[in-house]
């Protein structure tokens, strides 16, 4: 090797230049546009308390979406999250009937979430089964157990102190759920973008075999990710049960699809390997504001779900259409 080695710069373009062209920038623009439209459409929109109320329709889903985003980036998926909520909520109901206090109720919800996550994690990471089918199976199984326990009945009569998690406010208009959402967003941002665990998640999502050949403990990472979606579903179950004040086996039906929509809208590739937490946060805000705005205009929920379906497909389709020129 005769000539001196050539110098290779760290980065081709600055981080700012790269950020400007990113998916997140588009999401910010969309969010601002929706915000402005909403404030023109309804005089009730620009009101701190109304806005605060509106956050309840995405905070619980977004908590799960953070963990789901990491799972999807790692190339897996968990469709059982809504069923985990149902089972965790049922466990809390049983604990409540046994006379448990608020701390035990919370632990029951989170613990059930962790156990469900461990079941999924064992089947996918331990036995090497495809996560989409496994979690379609556990989707039926977890909610099925809730149905066995509850049938067409419901648990009601949670202690009044328990209402804090879903109805309480930390300060002024900032609800406990909103604060928890913000804290979790920061934690997940750090975890995914600033730790070696997050790096391993990207590596596995892009090429699991090469990650294993690089000394990454792939099965362990996958297992932890399933534990995390389980735990987040458990936490969401605590909040939701507290907010509704009751448990029915049909609680949170269909949430798995809304969570996946939020993640994909946030720019996470459904094929794995790419995506970011800020994107998911923005997607959560967008979905929340759309829901709220439609609500103010008295548009029924199902029409809004059409809008979200169109949004989900078009955010993926439009860039592909334009690339074809």
């Amino acid at each position: 090797m005769t000539p001196p080695p050539r110098f290779i710069p760290d980065r081709l373009q600055s981080r700012a230049a790269r950020a400007l062209r990113s998916w997140e920038t588009i999401l910010v623009a969309v969010a601002i546009a929706i915000f402005i439209t909403n404030s023109f459409m309804s005089p009730f929109f620009l009101n701190a308390w109304n806005l605060s109320d509106a956050t309840f329709n995405f905070t619980e889903k977004a908590m799960i979406a953070f963990a789901m985003a990491m799972l999807i980036i790692a190339g897996e998926i968990d469709l059982s999250v809504a069923s985990i909520i149902a089972l965790a909520s049922t466990a809390m109901g049983l604990a409540m009937q046994a006379g448990a206090g608020v701390p035990v109720l919370v632990l029951a919800g989170m613990g059930t979430g962790l156990i469900c996550g461990a079941v999924n994690g064992f089947l996918v990471a331990g036995l090497g089964l495809p996560s989409i089918v496994v979690t379609i199976g556990t989707l039926s199984l977890f909610r099925g157990i809730a149905f066995i326990v509850l049938g067409d009945k419901a648990f009601t009569g949670y202690p009044p102190e328990f209402a804090f998690f879903g109805q309480g406010y930390v300060w002024w208009v900032f609800s406990f759920e909103l604060v928890l959402f913000a804290v979790l967003a920061v934690i997940y941002w750090v975890l995914l973008h600033r730790t070696s665990f997050g790096r391993a998640v990207y590596a596995i999502g892009n090429n699991a075999t090469a990650a294993q050949f690089s000394g990454i403990r792939v099965a362990r990472v996958r297992f932890i990710l399933f534990l995390m979606t389980g735990l987040m579903s458990g936490i969401a179950a605590v909040c939701l049960t507290s907010r509704l004040g009751s448990t029915r086996p049909s609680i949170a039906t269909g949430w798995e699809l809304e969570v996946v929509t939020m993640v994909v809208l946030g720019g996470v590739s459904i094929l794995g390997g790419a995506g970011s937490i800020p994107g998911v946060v923005l997607a959560a805000f967008i979905m929340g504001m759309v829901t709220f705005g439609f609500g103010l205009l008295n548009v029924p929920g199902i029409v809004m779900s059409i809008f979200l379906g169109v949004l989900l497909i078009s955010v993926i389709a439009l860039p592909r259409l334009f690339r074809r020129g």
Partner: protein, 498 residues
């Protein structure tokens, strides 16, 4: 005699790359034309143009004197052009017969598939090439050599005039290669025009009648193979003569670093024992499927041995995962770079620091400045050609990707580095750089294991060569016994080499 198939002035560009520029190619009835060129010379692009996968930007294709176009793969097949690829691309879940007839199967009067004719036709075609494979067998249960037979039967079933063999011997054993040569003779006798793509000169001289050389997407020359020497071909390929291929180095072998004893695996290898020393390059030679990669992957913790022990320096180590192996100072540069080595969509520096993250990060938190420094140190040592360290790895050439994979492991400062087919599928320039670098590593005291199926490389680089066959160590070759004949005999079993 006019050529059956003739390409003139073919050009094909992709964003940023001119894959083919004004190239020509002629194929003649009953003759084998070898297409020769380095990686990136445009060989696979021309195959895709010929089989209707790519549309050329310019140029003409003439078949039997008539100008033709292949807008789809189907149209190429219909016109009689068929390709057999290195990793034969067929359907594992379907039967042998269906693989032969898929897309042009005989039908009954009702328009339904005629399974009886399909089966009988398959049996007849297989018999023509001397095979008695069961048409009903599931293709996935067959070995690669048998899959090639099915692919060739498929070519015959379409009444192909032109057969393209794209590195067909890459994954075949010695014996299977000779059976393939016989098959090519059969195809020649049937009057097929054959395009043969290979990296191996002995093969080209054995089988080809004519040659065509491409370099950097351009046509360089063609002629009868009998009129050209190996040296001239190499000169045409690289545009310069390659005189000194392997670096010379002082043999400076030290203490034992790695001792493997009684290593066994339930299905892949048995009774493996050897010792590797500081500063040594130990070659592992054998045919494809001899169990060399499987042994190395067990040493690296990908698979688990059933019994046996590994000693690193003075300590006995149990290796159950890649993590254990790396902790013990053993690292492995895999053969299948695309699947096992490179994470193409991640930036170069992240590929390099992936195993080193515990060192560059603090309490699990990343420190990017350290990562960039580590990446820069090792990529400069390997003379990597890249625009920036945050460039996606997949944008680099194969040779440069390999440098990144090697850099990734050197950054771990290992005691033992295992290189599995380190120069497979990379261009001659990068190949020389990798060889030179291996020599440097050994000179610095690293213990190197090199698995290679290329005899010149094994002999040129190794201090000692271990030959494996059917999962066992057959021979250890040193000093004057290090000749091509010894290796081939040992690897193939003496009777076959006779």
């Amino acid at each position: 005699m006019p050529p059956v198939l003739s390409l003139r002035g073919i050009s094909k560009s992709f964003p940023g790359v001119k894959a083919l520029q004004d190239v020509q190619l002629d194929l003649y009835q009953g003759q084998v034309t070898a297409l020769i060129g380095e990686n990136g010379a445009g060989k696979s692009t021309i195959v895709k143009v010929l089989t209707g996968i790519y549309q050329p930007d310019a140029g003409t294709i003439t078949l039997d004197g008539k100008s033709v176009r292949f807008p789809t793969a189907q149209s190429a097949t219909r016109a009689g052009v068929t390709a057999i690829h290195q990793e034969t691309v067929l359907f594992d879940e379907l039967s042998v017969a269906e693989n032969i007839w898929l897309g042009h199967a005989p039908r009954t009067r009702l328009g339904l598939l005629d399974w009886r004719s399909i089966r009988e036709g398959a049996r007849r075609l297989l018999a023509e090439i001397g095979s008695d494979l069961d048409p009903d067998q599931r293709l996935g249960d067959l070995g690669i050599a048998s899959k090639h037979l099915v692919a060739i039967a498929r070519a015959l079933s379409t009444d192909a005039r032109v057969v393209i063999l794209d590195e067909p011997t890459a994954a075949l054993s010695h014996k299977e290669i000779h059976e393939l040569y016989d098959l090519v003779e059969t195809l020649k006798a049937k009057g097929k025009a054959i395009l043969f793509i290979s990296h191996k000169f002995d093969e080209i001289y054995h089988i080809a009648d004519r040659y065509t050389v491409f370099r950097d997407g351009q046509f360089v020359g063609e002629g009868a193979i009998s009129d050209v020497t190996e040296g001239q071909l190499v000169h045409m390929m690289v545009g310069r003569s390659v005189d000194q291929i392997f670096p010379s180095r002082a043999r400076n072998i030290g203490d034992p670093v790695l001792t493997v004893a009684g290593y066994n695996h339930p299905t892949e290898f048995a009774d493996i024992g050897f010792t590797l020393h500081r500063g040594e390059i130990l070659g592992f030679y054998g045919l494809v499927g001899a169990g060399r990669s499987e042994l190395m992957q067990a040493l690296f913790g990908i698979t688990r041995p059933s019994k046996g022990a590994v000693r690193i320096g003075a300590d006995i180590r149990v290796i159950r995962s890649t993590h254990d192996a790396i902790a013990a100072g053993i690292v492995y540069v895999p053969e299948d770079r695309g699947k096992q080595g490179a994470i193409r969509a991640l930036p170069i520096f992240q590929n390099i620091t992936l195993p080193s993250l515990s060192r560059t990060s603090r309490a699990g938190f990343l420190r990017l400045a350290r990562e960039f420094k580590l990446a820069r140190d090792y990529t400069q040592r390997l003379d990597l050609r890249a625009a920036a360290l945050d460039q996606e790895l997949g944008l680099l050439s194969g040779g440069n990707q390999q440098k990144v994979v090697i850099a990734k492991w050197l950054a771990m400062r290992p005691r033992v580095i295992i290189l599995d087919e380190p120069t497979k599928g990379i261009d001659i320039g990068s190949k020389a750089a990798v060889h030179e670098f291996m020599a440097e590593l050994a000179a610095e005291g690293l213990a190197v294991i090199m698995v290679s199926s290329e005899i010149p490389e094994v002999l040129g680089m190794s201090d000692r060569v271990i030959v494996m066959r059917e999962g066992r160590i057959i021979d250890e070759v040193t000093g004057e016994r290090m000749t091509p004949e010894t290796l081939v005999r040992a690897a193939a079993g003496i009777s076959e080499a006779a």
